[in-house]
Amino acid sequence: MSEIRIENLRKVYDVPRGKEVAVEGSTLTVPDGDFLTLLGPSGCGKSTTLRCIAGLENQTDGEIYYDEDEVSDRLAQERDISMVFQEIALYPHMQCIDNIAYPLKVRGVPKDERYERAREVAATLEVEELVEKYPAELSGGQRQRIAIARAIVREPRAFLMDEPMTGLDEKLKVRMRKELKRVVEETEQTVIYVTHSQEEAMMLSDWIAVMSDGEIEQYGTPNEVYREPNNRFVASFVGMPEMNMWDGETDGATITVEIGEQTVDLEVRNAADDAERKAKSDIEERSSDDVEIGFRPQALSVVSEGEGDFDADLDLVEPMGENSLCYVDSPIGEIRAVEDSTEGLSEGTRIGVKLDRHEGYVFDRESGSTIARTGEAPPGSDGVSGRAATDD
């Protein structure tokens, strides 16, 4: 187990028409024993970053350190790590026990010893009774467990996972996530996990690095990433359903949003007495008076006509189980709001939309970075439904 550090990692691929930058100068540190998730849409460079850390790709520039050892130029074989692939990659011609024991076999551990160790690990993952079988005889979830067992059978310096849950169905994903979290905590592994699912990232990680277009947009705890997004991309990528974004104008103290004939005025929060915002960019740094304002659907409520901040037409109510997602039709486009109770709401009627005023984010329209929050800072951290893995 090691601390993993990458510095200015760059990866450029030669493609038939010139060059394609996959990773652009990433720098981050995963503390020893922590769980980092690289989160981002497909093609954002997260898998490439992981493969560079594993040694399966050669970085174009930059350094990779495991603790104080620079491993940038070492082969994958010499880096002493484990990895679970998206394809799971259990060897079909070997029994599960041989699959699990393979990393030990390569290292020349005698047969009895490696089988004993393999059985131990299989027991941790509750797949003891499957070890005599071939991978083709197992279900998706069972293969996943065997693959994880194989990855932890030896004590590697780090444990890398490349979208390992992709092939599983929803229910199994949730179970495997819990399982994985337990195993990882028991073994105190340093883990780097790649996924495009924010749910997985939120639940599993100590740290999240949100990536887009080869760059790390934000690196922080799940809570930070959700509550204090660095920019528009992070704000809209993290959080379900997607954040509402509206154009507005500011004079430095208030923001005006025009919704057809109606206007909504929002106060800019005083950054000085907001602990969360102190170290971040400020409204004074804005490139122009044109800003974008973002509200999570959870910060919006649907009320009777005239009682909210503005009125609009309720277009569609989509049940999501416990609560419902309301689509509201307005002159500035579709607005999404999450409501607990949909009683008395009928589609096609005129309703009011009420904003939770201290939950708004202000983005610079040009650069996209977050420059302020709206309203007074809330006394506690209420009103945020995102949960952080660090909290439990």
Binding site: A54, G55, L56, L75, A76, Q77, R79, D80, I81, S82, M83, F85, Q86, E87, I88, A89, L90, Y91, P92, H93, Y102, P103, V106, R107, P135, A136, R143, R150, R154, G167
Partner: protein, 298 residues
């Protein structure tokens, strides 16, 4: 039924059959038709084989009599014994086996390495190279054999095992390489990558992971190469002129061209020649069919 005017008479007959003949009868009829077709196939393929087997154990007198006997009256192993005592059959047999095994080994090793590299490494012109390999398989053997004769003569490879093995391998390899190329394409690179991660060197990962997963392909290649060498006439005929170096197909030609056609020898030699090919396919087919369902994993 005015709309039936557009139907052909055959369609009308089928319609009539489907609608008016009881289902039980239809089912019985289709069973019998199926049995008839299977029977016909068995006869067409099996009868010549049967004649070969039967003739191989019939004495010459019986073979040349005018009555065709389904069961030999005086079965004898004399033909087989004669093959070994009166002809150089044993020598031809040995030559054929050496040539076929040599071709098999060289083809399997080179095709596996070539297929692996074509899928795992990139180099300029790779795709064109892979395609042109298959193209070279389209040359008729004779076109290759004539220049080979001249080159082999200069290299002193005529009438030698290395010479014939090289020629047969050259003929079998294009298809073998193409086959292994296709097979390795079905083995995802991540299986080897995971082995590398666990510390296995490239060669070790190839041995432990890639080759076992491509095993059905390797078996197919070995059967194919064996068959190419075993049944080759063109190359052997040109490159092996010395009696003691001849392989079975050209050696057996001698049984006809000498003073008289010795059917007893030809038939018993044919049986002996069919034997290794039959055994090879029989024992390896289970490997061929035992699917390591690569696609079903993951």
């Amino acid at each position: 039924m005015s709309y039936t005017t557009s139907k052909s008479p055959i369609e009308r007959i089928i319609d009539y059959y489907v609608r008016n003949v009881p289902h039980a009868t239809q089912r019985r009829l289709s069973t019998w038709v199926f049995r008839f077709l299977v029977g016909a196939t068995v006869i067409v393929v099996g009868f010549p084989t049967y004649v070969m087997l039967k003739a191989s154990i019939q004495p010459e007198l019986e073979l040349f009599s005018n009555t065709f006997l389904f069961v030999p009256r005086n079965p004898t192993l004399g033909n087989f014994a004669g093959l070994f005592t009166e002809t150089s059959f044993a020598r031809f047999y040995l030559n054929s086996i050496v040539a076929a095994l040599g071709t098999m080994v060289i083809s399997v090793v080179s095709a596996t390495l070539a297929g692996y590299s074509l899928t795992r490494f990139s180099f300029p012109g790779k795709k064109r190279l892979a395609q042109s390999v298959l193209f070279s398989y389209m040359f008729p053997p004779l076109l290759l054999a004539l220049p080979m004769f001249m080159i082999w003569r200069d290299l002193q490879l005529l009438n030698s095992y290395p010479g014939i093995i090289l020629a047969h391998s050259a003929h079998a390899l294009p298809f073998d390489i193409w086959l292994m190329w296709k097979f390795f394409q079905t083995v995802p690179i991540s299986y080897e990558e995971s082995a590398w991660i666990y510390g296995a060197s490239r060669l070790r990962a190839m041995r432990d992971v890639a080759i076992p997963m491509a095993l059905p392909g390797i078996i197919a290649v070995s059967i194919f190469s064996f068959a190419i060498s075993w049944s080759d006439f063109t190359f052997a005929n040109l490159l092996l002129t010395q009696e003691s170096m001849k392989t079975l197909p050209i050696g057996m030609l001698g049984f006809i061209e000498q003073q008289a056609v010795n059917w007893g020898f030809i038939m018993s030699a044919s049986v002996m020649m069919a034997l290794p090919a039959f055994l090879l396919v029989y024992f390896l087919q289970s490997y061929l069919l035992r699917g390591f369902s690569v696609g079903g994993l993951g």
